[in-house]
């Protein structure tokens, strides 16, 4: 699913980004890369999303949220000692 369709208040792991440059690079530089944990906080009527990533709250427009593919984070352990998604066998 996309970050736009994700549920409010839930935790997710970024699977991949379908964004084009330079938006893709911009988000990567902010640490939104494959396997990064995110927590969706809020969604506006126009589809903009607020989410938590690496201890920072980011607000992104619909055009970005629609192209960030995520899947649910099923780990119970919420701290960062858990390794990134790659170890869970998630690959594109």
């Amino acid at each position: 699913m996309t970050l736009k369709d994700a549920r409010k208040g839930e935790k997710y792991i970024i699977e991949k980004s379908l964004l084009k440059q330079p938006a893709k690079q911009r988000l990567e530089a902010m640490g939104l890369i494959e396997g990064t944990k995110v927590r969706k906080i809020n969604q506006a009527l126009d589809g903009s999303v607020i989410f938590m990533v690496r201890g920072t709250r980011l607000a992104v427009g619909k055009e970005l949220a629609e192209f960030i593919i995520v899947h649910e984070d099923n780990s119970i352990n919420t701290n960062h000692s858990k390794k990134r998604g790659k170890e869970d066998g998630i690959k594109q």
Binding site: P22, A23, T36, N42, L58, A59
Partner: protein, 685 residues
């Protein structure tokens, strides 16, 4: 070799040159919201603006101080997240860091948000200059019960790490001590971030090739990495062909590796990590609510302006009393000194009347800036971009464009400069065009004067309506220009919102006071310079005519100038030479419209009860009523901003054609709008 390749982006960084006079150039770099500007202010005492949203430090700010026998020259760089070449700020920062102008980099990081801040740190270290990490906001770290291993962190990063607290001014001396020592430290041979074998192999090959061409290159590894990332700026300026090694962009791999390393660091140095964000989440549930968000924002702004007009007025009454007694005292004194009547008129009518009137509006202006500072410092302003994003998208802009517009309520000059945070030129042009429609604080005296003269108990409402109309007209203008653009261009640019929302915090009293004082000082110095000068010039052209000194101002040069404009303004109900002249004078600074009316109507303090009555009578005799007043407010709202704002617009647009277009557009818009108000209003009344 550097001198042979002056135009080349690749130049050597020879930081271990001999230092004369113990002068140290220090660049302050850091993420937005890391408290970088607060730390900078703590050293230099240069009271710079402290803001709370990304990208506010759009100008290079400098300051210097002496400590022991060193002269420390500090440069405050824009707040950035990375050192790529996407935005103006990142490019400016990177070029500055690579230049010989800087000896040591102080990387200011928010210790309570280390994970985000370390990415920039790793990039800075890679650039090969001496870096000292200043861990700011250590008090918040403690407050949250977190701990940072201050022994392990410098070990892992290979640079000195100094805990500081800019707000409480602790750790400042130790930081500068570390800076003065660290500049002599030779870079270590091993690298902080080691990439995969494939990438390291490519870095080695590129480095060798670069060194062959530029044997003195200090930081070939940085350039090699940038070439592997296919960084547009470095790639286009590099004269060494590496296309056989760089078969594709390795940027994603390089970013991933850095974040992997950051996770390793966080795991080792951060104890008791927790997301202490419940408060912010709770507040955000209301303030960024999908339905309530916009009404709340409008309510907040309505309250700000309502309070500006009502609360400010109370204190203004006291100042008016002072001004009146001062003016009477000055006149008595001048008469006692046998001063000629012309000089008395210049001082009492021209200077005290012109400048004094403006000073009585200080409480309104101070209060407005207090509110703006409060909104910024609490963290609410960044939320406005999210709340307004939907509406802004409909008119072809990103929610981010709303920040310059909000700043425009204070002063157009910094608002125009804040458009630099917008990514594409088309958006910037659009925002620059509409920002002057957001009524700046200098227009407050005009609204207050006219509406209290003509609208009685509805005065605040009439003044408030200027903000609503201005904002609506701004949004409409952006909407229409987007439609025109899209017709010309089949692939309109998509405006994507991307902004960090800082955690809510209790605004810092010191930061707010500094911000308000900065703006009040600006207002006072404007009263002492531009408005003073304009008042003297106005007095002169109103008191002298072809026959010399005139008692009757309608025979003056000023009246002649005003009469040229009067016929043009007639359809707007403003066809009086006095009004025409004061509007022209208003181009120097908007407050001058009011001071010129003070001189014109020969009233020292037009805001006092007797002054108001006298002016109302004079205006009434001229046939200038409530509708004319409202039309004039509309004209002032829209017409060309002051020269200071125009200069910034010209500088930012970098085009005489566009600047002239903006100038004309606003003038024509003001005329059409006020004509519509006057003509339609005339039919209704």
């Amino acid at each position: 070799m550097a001198s042979n390749n002056k135009n080349n982006a690749i130049h050597s960084v020879m930081y271990n040159k001999k230092y004369e006079a113990e002068e140290l150039n220090i660049g302050f770099v850091g993420n937005p919201n890391s408290g970088k500007t607060t730390l900078f202010n703590a050293y230099t005492g240069a009271r710079l603006k402290v803001a709370n949203w990304p990208g506010v430090t759009v100008e290079k700010k400098e300051g210097a101080f002496k400590y022991h026998n060193h002269i420390y020259k500090l440069v405050d760089l824009p707040g950035i997240y990375s050192l790529t070449s996407y935005s103006i700020e990142e490019k400016v920062s990177r070029q500055y860091i690579l230049s010989d102008d800087v000896d040591v980099i102080v990387d200011v990081a928010d210790a309570s948000n280390l994970e985000r801040n370390l990415y920039l740190t790793l990039q800075l270290i890679e650039m090969g200059k001496p870096v000292v990490l200043a861990l700011n906001m250590m008090d918040i770290v403690e407050e949250r019960g977190m701990e940072i291993d201050l022994h392990r962190l410098p070990e892992m990063l290979g640079i000195p790490v100094i805990p500081v607290c800019a707000r409480k001014k602790t750790g400042l001396n130790i930081l500068m001590h570390a800076v003065s020592h660290h500049r002599e430290v030779e870079p270590k041979s091993d690298y902080v971030v080691v990439y995969s074998n494939l990438i390291e192999d490519k870095i080695k090959k590129i480095t060798a090739r670069l060194l062959k061409k530029y044997p003195n290159l200090h930081n070939p590894r940085f350039y090699a990495i940038k070439l592997l990332e296919k960084d547009s700026e470095i790639t286009s300026t590099c004269t060494v062909d590496v296309s056989d090694i760089v078969d594709k962009s390795y940027e994603t791999e390089i970013i991933n590796r850095k974040y992997d390393f950051i996770e390793e660091i966080i795991e080792e140095v951060l104890v008791n990590k927790q997301e202490k964000t419940e408060m912010t989440d709770r507040v955000d549930r209301i303030l960024t609510h999908k339905i309530l968000g916009i009404p709340i924002f409008l309510g907040v702004m309505g309250l700000v302006f309502f309070l500006t007009f009502t609360l400010g007025d109370g204190i203004k009454g006291i100042l008016e009393g002072w001004l009146e007694s001062f003016s009477a005292w000055a006149e008595e004194g001048l008469v006692a000194m046998n001063t000629g009547p012309i000089i008395i008129s210049l001082i009492i009518d021209g200077i005290i009347g012109g400048v004094g009137t403006i000073l009585t509006f200080l409480p309104n202006i101070a209060f407005l800036f207090l509110c703006l500072a409060f909104l910024e410092d609490s963290g609410y302003m960044a939320r406005v971009t999210y709340v307004m994003n939907g509406i802004m998208n409909k008119i072809g802009l990103s929610g981010r464009a709303f920040i310059p517009m909000l700043l425009g309520f204070g002063c157009t000059v910094p608002a125009i400069m804040a458009t630099r945070t917008l990514e594409n030129d088309r958006d910037r042009r659009k925002v620059i065009l509409i920002t002057p429609f957001m009524s700046c604080s200098a227009k407050i005296p005009i609204y207050v004067l006219l509406s209290s003269l003509f609208f009685g108990k509805f005065a605040s409402l009439a003044a408030l309506s200027m903000y609503v109309i201005g904002m609506a007209a701004g949004l409409l203008t952006a909407f229409v220009s987007t439609k025109i653009e899209n017709k010309a261009d089949k692939s309109p640019a998509v405006n994507q919102l991307l902004i960090e929302l800082p955690e809510y915090k209790t605004p810092n009293a010191y930061s707010i006071l500094v911000y308000v004082w900065e703006n009040v000082k600006e207002y006072l110095s404007k009263a002492g310079t531009t408005i003073f000068l304009a008042s003297v010039v106005l007095w002169f052209i109103l008191r002298f005519g072809t026959i010399g000194y005139v008692e009757d101002m309608s025979l003056s040069f000023g009246a002649a100038i005003g009469r040229v404009l009067a016929p043009v303004l007639k359809p707007a109900g403003l066809g009086f030479w006095q009004i025409g002249l004061s509007l022209i004078a208003g181009l120097a600074a908007k407050e001058v419209v009011v001071s010129s009316m003070g001189i014109l109507f020969g009233i020292v303090n037009i805001e006092s009860a007797s002054g108001l009555g006298a002016m109302l009578q004079t205006l009434g005799n001229m046939g200038f009523g409530a509708l004319n007043a409202y039309s004039m407010m509309i004209f002032v709202l829209f017409y060309t901003p002051c020269v200071a704002a125009l200069a910034v617009i010209a500088k930012e647009l970098k085009s005489a054609k566009w600047t002239a277009l903006v100038f004309l557009f606003q003038l024509v818009f003001a005329w059409v709008a006020s004509v519509l108000v006057y003509q339609i209003g005339g039919l209704l009344i």
